[in-house]
């Protein structure tokens, strides 16, 4: 049975590939949440899914993110074979996970692997908010732990792109403990003097924001990304005060000293390249 569900042809694509860019049929239109203007998806894709009118950064799948981040042909995936179990016997969890595997062509909410960025070998993890809202359960926690350990063993920098609604409710307290697991793994990286770059993309909230995503040596974010611990509605109910429009955006966090830089998607790869280059010096000697 398992074999049928996860036969070779349904395994995730070894990304990045041109195919990831063409998943949505060409000619389809999209209304921009930022400026309400209509764009061709095809045109949007050419622009890394950034609205050419207002600069709105549309969400990227893990495959799309890798495509516009790593050097072509350098990505090899790790641990793609890990899939979630159902520790609580939670209603409909198995069915919903199976549906998301089908929908996203991924086995879980994060893709990890080895790659090069501007010629520098790295370990990279990219979350996909299309899979269970990018939530962190046991598999996401374990894949990040293994990615950090690989970075330690091979003395590579680690990059994690967060895109997550937080801990995965369906795995209960097990998902909460993944915050501890990922943080402990990052501590080993830190002890070894290795670089960790955290890139927060839309959205980075809850237990992901309150664990690995906030622990970068350098914390970057994409413009307009929602980043925060508690949900806006819960805060409004609790404090009964009006929150500013830009509350919990990347720009808001930048203003409050919580980020190193807010970086436009078009500049992200080259700025990551610069950060890697600055830190690579010590490793060569």
């Amino acid at each position: 049975m398992l074999r049928d569900l996860f036969s070779k042809k349904k395994r995730p694509e070894k990304i990045p590939s041109e195919k990831a860019k063409q998943e949505v049929p060409e000619g389809l239109m999209s209304k921009c949440p930022g400026c309400k203007k209509i764009s061709y998806i095809k045109e949007l894709r050419k622009n890394d899914m950034v609205c050419e009118h207002c600069g709105y950064h549309h969400r990227l799948s893990a495959g799309e993110r890798l495509y516009c981040t790593v050097d072509e042909g350098t990505f090899t995936e790790m641990d793609a074979q890990l899939i979630a179990e159902d520790p609580l016997g939670f209603p409909e969890y198995k069915e919903k996970s199976a549906k998301d595997r089908e929908k996203t062509n991924l086995n879980e909410a994060i893709v990890t692997g080895r790659a090069e960025i501007e010629g520098v070998p790295v370990v990279i993890g990219v979350m996909d908010a299309g899979f269970r809202m990018g939530s962190m359960g046991a598999v996401v926690g374990e894949k990040i732990r293994r990615a950090a350990d690989t970075a330690v063993n091979e003395r590579r920098p680690l990059l994690l792109f967060a895109a997550s609604g937080g801990a995965r409710m369906q795995e209960g307290v097990i998902s909460l403990m993944q915050m501890g697991k990922t943080s402990a793994a990052l501590r080993r990286l830190h002890e070894e003097g290795l670089l960790f770059i955290s890139i927060m993309t839309h959205p980075t909230t809850g237990g992901v924001s309150a664990s690995f995503a906030s622990l970068g040596d350098v914390n970057l974010a994409e413009p307009g990304a929602l980043i925060g611990f508690a949900g806006r509605r819960i805060i409004e109910q609790t404090v009964r005060e009006k929150l500013p429009d830009d509350f919990q955006t990347a720009e808001f966090l930048m203003d409050h000293g919580q980020l190193d830089r807010v970086v436009h998607r078009h500049d992200l790869k080259s700025q990551i390249g610069t950060i890697l280059a600055v830190h690579a010096r010590g490793e060569e000697e």
Binding site: L82, L88, F90, A185
Partner: protein, 325 residues
Amino acid sequence: MADHLPFEKPVIELREKIKELRSFTEDKDIDLSGEIEKLESRLAQLEEDIYGNMKPWDRVQLARHTERPTTQDYIQLLITDFLELHGDRLYGDDAAIIGGIGFFEGNPVTVIGHQRGRDTKENLRRNFGMPHPEGYRKALRLMKQADKFKRPIVCFIDTKGAYPGKAAEERGQSEAIARNLIEMAGLRVPVLCIVIGEGGSGGALALGIGDRLYMLENSTYSVISPEGAAALLWKDSGEAQRAAETMKITAPDLEKLGILDGVIPEVRGGAHRDVQQQADAIREVLRRELKELSSKDPEVLVSERAEKFNQIGSYADVTDANTEE
């Protein structure tokens, strides 16, 4: 607030009835001792049934009980010469977390815990035990201090969660919690964590990266409150009772999930029925665990603590499934 919870009502009513019959016997000089004896054995049975079969929601109510002992109560009964230390040195002093130094059975310790209030006035001062970033940063400062002076750390966990507020977000609630997680993972002294009431999500975990994790029998530990889960799952926070069961948040549930080092039994009817006796049960655990942990090398402590978290969470490996045939 009544001194009993809804699920205890039958026991309380029967106790009242027995009391009535007793005074009736004395006043009217009628012998009802046979009747009383019968009711007393029924009471014993009823107590067994009710306290021996507590539903998750019963435990949630006990964990939130106004009279439930807090961090301060246990510090008072377990720690001698306790001196509270204040402030994060960055912004302020958050009364929702208290911490300080003292002696446990003659040995120096640092004790840190969430602190809620007993009445409305104290709850307002302590923000209902829901910390801001400065609370977590104070806790971290005291942990680093303990690390420097090689004192073990005891953390009492008792919070609905980190405070969801505008100022908390502005000052970096996420970063404050995350920082505690990574720093606690590296502490070179024993860290013993005990959930004494509610363990609400990341706000609880921020004091929870330890070498050992215990829970009082009627405490809870969860990724989201039963009300919050019910609102998400069934669009109805009134379904909290059902969510408390689905989410597996009680001490016995967590023990089954393999996350705990032990459950500390509670006094029948809850810790508030006899605080001294409850403190004694905690004392036993502190004595045993601190002795064992203090004998370990710092490197061993740190690596075993990380390994403890590495083990949490099961997953299927699809390659195994494919090659097994």
